[in-house]
């Protein structure tokens, strides 16, 4: 209990200082907001090309597909706010040898590296994503009850954990190869597949995006839950994927640390 309180207190200090530092760049916040709005408008435009004249996309109606788009926007915002600034710094720590200092601190190193800072860059995207979900879900026939909403939030949380674990797994490889940081760009590109419901893809890709790279569990499954079309097996699978990914990321980090030899050695 005391340990948990210590971690929470540390977290508050981390994020307080990060936000205070970032608020110096107010013009950037405005630009990011503009870019996020334009980006969402463009995505919705491209999505609209698949509809019209009574067409559907992989069995999803226009409003239902917008919920998927909303979940994607939300997750992308989280990635810019939380994952990019933190996990992007790992490679610098490895290259410059400052990872040594992190490892010496009396706090879990994965916790420190994953939660050290926050950037407001993605906050506007998070807000837009939530707004789009709130607009589209009732129009797509979702009826929010407290229990259903709680389940949907649980699945969204599982999606976040899965997303985090994928990023962290890739970031960990920089212990061996400093040059793999660009691999996160490949991951980012592959994850854009999550803008669309998974059933819109051909069977081979559907399998790939479910089993190998769990894109389906990032956007489609949370959207199903939000639309009240979830089932117990779906919920179980989402939680299982999140649990396994997180466990893997943790085990892989331990394993990687065993190979860490500090900079210049």
């Amino acid at each position: 209990m005391a340990a948990l309180r210590r971690y929470l207190l540390t977290l508050r200090r981390f994020w307080g200082t990060a936000l205070a530092g970032q608020l110096e760049y107010q013009l950037n916040v405005v630009l990011e907001l503009l870019a996020a709005i334009a980006n969402l408008a463009g995505s919705v435009f491209i999505l609209s090309l698949f509809f019209g004249q009574g067409r559907a996309l992989g069995g999803w109606s226009w409003q239902q597909a917008l919920v998927v788009q909303g979940v994607y926007t939300l997750l992308d915002g989280v990635a810019s706010t939380w994952l990019r600034p933190n996990l992007g710094a790992i490679v610098t720590h490895v290259r410059e040898g400052t990872l040594d200092f992190v490892l010496l601190k009396p706090i879990d190193s994965q916790f420190w590296l994953s939660l050290r800072t926050l950037s407001p860059a993605g906050l506007s995207e998070i807000a837009l994503g939530l707004g789009l979900i709130a607009w589209a879900a009732p129009r797509a026939g979702a009826t929010f009850r407290a229990s259903g909403l709680a389940l949907a939030l649980l699945v969204l949380l599982a999606a976040l954990v899965t997303l985090y674990s994928l990023w962290f797994l890739l970031a960990t490889t920089s212990i061996w190869f400093v040059k793999t940081w660009n691999a996160t760009e490949v991951l980012r590109a592959a994850l854009t597949a999550g803008r669309f419901p998974i059933s819109a893809y051909p069977p081979g890709l559907r399998l790939l995006f479910t089993v190998v790279l769990p894109v389906a569990f990032l956007t489609t499954v949370p959207a199903e839950m939000l639309l009240g079309r979830g089932s117990a097996p779906l919920l179980g699978a989402a939680l299982l994927v999140a649990g396994v990914s997180f466990g893997l990321s943790r085990a892989f980090w331990r394993f990687a640390l065993g190979h860490y030899t500090s900079a210049s050695s």
């Binding site: 950037n28 691999a183 893809y201």
Partner: protein, 269 residues
């Protein structure tokens, strides 16, 4: 410091030296460039969607046309990627720009050479990805005729020139503001959605398409990709539009650059 004058005066020696040194530099970063090439997979994801969707059949390209269009879009994108604003911002902030300005060569040439060298390094990776595409999907295989290929290469070069000039404009703004590269994010949004990377322009509603054709973006991917894929395309209009945009952007970029150099104080902005 007129662009091009040193090349005229001393022949192609400086150009060759610049290109070969930049190529050696870029070859160092083979692994990164391979990953960058891989991160451009977006057109293939979109292809999978368009082939599956009923809206794709209504485009009138046929499934073969779709395959070839999106592979061409990928290739055109690989050979017209521009990152001059990021390189320039770093050089300006770290003060590396000062020695470049002393040389009797417009610094933009250095970035042009770096981009061309990087495209050369990309070539094998792009070829491998095209080969894998044909292995998975042998029915889509085609070889453009020599004429088609030359025209597509010229159109891609034009697309590269427009994208390069657009970003140079933003780069020149780095002389005036420290965070001009944030503007690049705003430029990238219409590029992404109106260039034809995610959907061929034929899929756009009539009104949007008519409006988009007055922006530089459709000429950056859609036009060269259609040429390479052998789809019907308005040849004269396309090349005229590319030339017109180059004619508008080139003086603008040079003027803004000159005004910026005058304000430059060697460190920071």
């Amino acid at each position: 410091m007129a662009i091009g004058s040193p090349l005229r005066k001393r022949g192609f020696r400086p150009a060759r030296a610049l290109l070969s040194s930049q190529f050696a530099l870029m070859s160092e970063y083979r692994a990164e460039i391979a990953l960058w090439a891989l991160s451009g997979l977006l057109p293939f994801i979109m292809l999978a969607l368009w082939r599956q969707a009923p809206a794709g059949a209504a485009l009138g390209l046929g499934s073969l046309g779709l395959d070839r269009y999106f592979l061409s879009a990928y290739l055109v994108r690989q050979f017209s990627v521009v990152w001059v604003v990021f390189a320039f911002e770093e050089d300006a902030l770290l003060g590396r720009l000062s020695p470049y300005l002393l040389q009797p060569l417009h610094p933009l040439w250095r970035y042009v050479a770096a981009h061309l060298a990087e495209q050369l390094t990309r070539l094998p990776f792009a070829a491998v990805i095209a080969a894998v595409f044909f292995l998975i999907n042998p029915g889509a295989f085609w070889l453009p005729s020599v004429g088609q290929f030359v025209l597509a290469a010229l159109a891609t070069l034009g697309a590269f020139a427009i994208a390069f000039l657009l970003q140079s404009l933003i780069a020149a703004l780095c002389f005036f503001s420290e965070k001009a590269s944030a503007l690049e994010r705003l430029l990238f949004v219409p590029y992404l959605f109106f260039s034809g990377l995610l959907a061929p322009l034929a899929a756009f509603p009539q009104g949007v398409r008519a409006w988009a054709q007055w922006t530089p973006f459709p000429w950056l991917i859609d036009f060269p990709a259609r040429l390479l894929a052998g789809l019907p395309v308005a040849l004269g209009v396309g090349f005229a539009a590319e030339l017109a945009w180059i004619a508008v952007l080139l003086p603008l970029a040079l003027l803004l650059w000159r005004a910026g150099v005058r304000r430059y104080t060697a460190m920071g902005a």
